[in-house]
């Protein structure tokens, strides 16, 4: 195993490790938030997911039908 690290190597790994962890699921939420801040598609997707989770928490009777506009 390598015993001596240069400053540059330390800096490079210091940046890369959190990214590696985030990509492997250790810190996926932080990564998603970071992506959303820079990538509009990720931001839109994260917004849709948040709305989906909000709606999923609400319970209602099975008999509640959608408010479609339909005229025969």
């Amino acid at each position: 195993m390598k015993q001596k690290w240069t400053r540059r190597e330390i800096a490079r790994w210091g940046l890369a490790i959190p990214v590696l962890f985030s990509r492997t699921g250790v810190n996926a939420q932080t990564a998603a938030a970071a992506d959303a801040a820079t990538d509009p598609f990720a931001k839109a997707r994260a917004g849709n997911k948040a709305h989906s989770e909000t709606l999923a928490k609400i319970e209602m009777p099975m008999s509640t039908e959608p408010a479609f506009v339909f005229r025969a």
Partner: protein
């Protein structure tokens, strides 16, 4: 002897009723009036990025016929001979209809929107198509410049946004470029530019006005409505454009007759409001002006009742429904890759993401929407209209992102902060009317009622405007 026409601001900022009186008295002809407004909208429209398509020739041809009718005393109502503008999501046969979006810059349709045909029948003269936010905001826009016409500017300060998505309609009416305009609203697109530009706008009940020939953004939420100089003018225009249309499957098969005199007595009118809107949600510098406006409403003799909106996640509901429907509508645009030509990259991304929304989310949102409608019906058993600031702050600065305050802390009580989303979800009508100025920019109140209560809303607006002069204020134009 015919009076010499004076093309002053007094003419350009006249209401429909005032212009109609001049036409009837033959102080000015419909052709002269059309040329006067066409000159103005062509000269000043680009100053505010408000003009999409000048239509002088189209209007003058029809104005000549109106003058023949007026000469023979064939009067067809207040709109006869009145020039107007229309948001560029309404099609006119064989003329460009861009929807404010570069991918559709040369698009034409072989038919004319029902509302424009109805206005033509009443003698109104389409003089210009007006700019708008691209795709009426489909996909979700984050910048004021989300339009092929550039950022809409409020005539009160060109550094500030006109609001969207009916941006050109708002600034053109405010700057006296047209006496009235048509806009459309899916969730705030008439009310917001009305507030930021200082004009009076009416969002009709869902289904009262045909959308045939209008761009679809959300079939279950889109509405077309007037943006004018006064509540009364909104009533006159709504009467002309409302009514059954077999070409619009959502048509409510109802007409509208402007008869505010038969609305409920003000002393019997119960007005629901949330004090937190005025004390905490409104931007600090606007609170005194909003309080003063609230005082004017109280002086009308109405019963003010503190109330709350039904508790639902309105933003999640609105966003899910609109995104799901716009995804289906604009799927071909996304798949063609042309959505990437939109001015705001957030919109292209939002449209792409909307294709992934699962059907279960859409259905859940539409089921909850049934409950929202039910709970609003219950709320309106005790209240006649709801009153709140249309927007809590003045027009944002164009140079800044529109979502820059999204993460700012908010008051603990929601008040009516989601009234625009909620009202649109429930299909309710709303009137926005100017109620003051803060740092030279207009602010406005919205009045919301039960479906088909437009006469009540207009009666409230008319009375408010009898007691105030905010709707008569004019910006300095070039």
């Amino acid at each position: 002897m015919k009076k010499k026409i004076e093309y002053t601001d007094d003419l350009f900022f006249s209401t429909i009723t005032e212009l109609s009186a001049k036409l009837k008295a033959r102080e000015i002809s419909a052709v002269e009036l059309t040329h006067a407004f066409a000159d103005r909208v062509e000269r000043l429209g680009p100053t505010y990025n408000a003009l999409a398509l000048p239509m002088r020739e189209y209007a003058v041809k029809r104005a000549k016929l109106v003058d023949q009718d007026l000469k023979r005393e064939r009067f067809r109502g207040a709109l006869q001979g009145i020039p107007f503008g229309a948001k560029d999501l309404l099609s006119v046969a064989d003329l460009p209809t861009t929807w404010g979006a570069k991918p559709y810059a040369t698009r034409t349709f072989p038919y004319t929107a029902t509302v424009l045909n109805k206005l033509e029948k009443s003698g109104a003269l389409l003089t210009a198509k007006l700019a708008m936010v691209e795709l009426a905001g489909g996909g979700g826009y984050r910048i004021a410049g989300a339009s092929m016409f550039g950022p809409g500017m409020t005539p009160w300060n060109r550094a500030n946004w006109s609001g969207g998505s009916s941006s050109g309609s708002g600034s053109a009416v405010a700057a006296g470029l047209v006496p009235f305009a048509l806009g459309s609203e899916t969730s705030g697109s008439i009310l917001t530019p009305s507030a930021y530009c200082g004009v009076t706008g009416l969002r009709p009940t869902y289904g009262l006005v045909s959308r045939y020939g209008a761009m679809a953004l959300s079939w279950t939420m889109d509405k077309v409505g007037p943006m004018c100089r006064s509540a009364e003018d909104c009533g006159l225009v709504l009467q002309a454009i409302a009514g059954t249309d077999s070409n619009d499957p959502a048509s409510a098969k109802k007409s509208f007759y402007y008869t505010p005199q038969y609305a409920r007595k003000f002393s019997d009118l119960r007005v629901g409001f949330a004090p937190v809107d005025f004390a905490e949600w409104a931007m600090p510098s606007a609170r005194a002006a909003f309080d003063e406006a609230l005082g004017v409403v109280r002086q009308m003799g109405v019963q003010m009742v503190e109330t709350k909106l039904p508790d639902y996640p309105y933003s999640a509901l609105t966003s899910t429904i609109i995104s799901s429907e716009e995804g289906a509508i604009f799927e071909p645009l996304v798949l063609s890759g042309k959505a990437e030509e939109l001015a705001d990259p957030a919109q292209a991304a939002g449209l792409r993401a909307s294709l992934e929304i699962p059907a279960k989310d859409y259905l859940k949102a539409m089921r909850l929407r049934s409950l929202v409608q039910r709970d609003f019906r219950r709320l309106f058993a005790d209240i006649d209209v709801l009153l709140a600031p249309t927007r809590f702050s003045t027009a944002p600065v164009i140079a800044e992102p529109l979502d820059k305050n999204d993460d700012a802390p908010v008051p603990s009580e929601p008040g009516f902060s989601k009234l625009i989303s909620a009202g649109n979800l429930a299909g309710l009508p709303a009137l926005s009317m100017p109620c003051g100025f803060v740092d030279g920019l207009p602010i406005a109140l919205q009045v919301v009622g039960v479906p088909f209560s437009e006469n009540t809303l207009i009666a409230v607006g008319r009375e408010f405007q009898k007691r105030t002069a905010w709707h008569r204020k004019r910006p300095v134009t070039g």
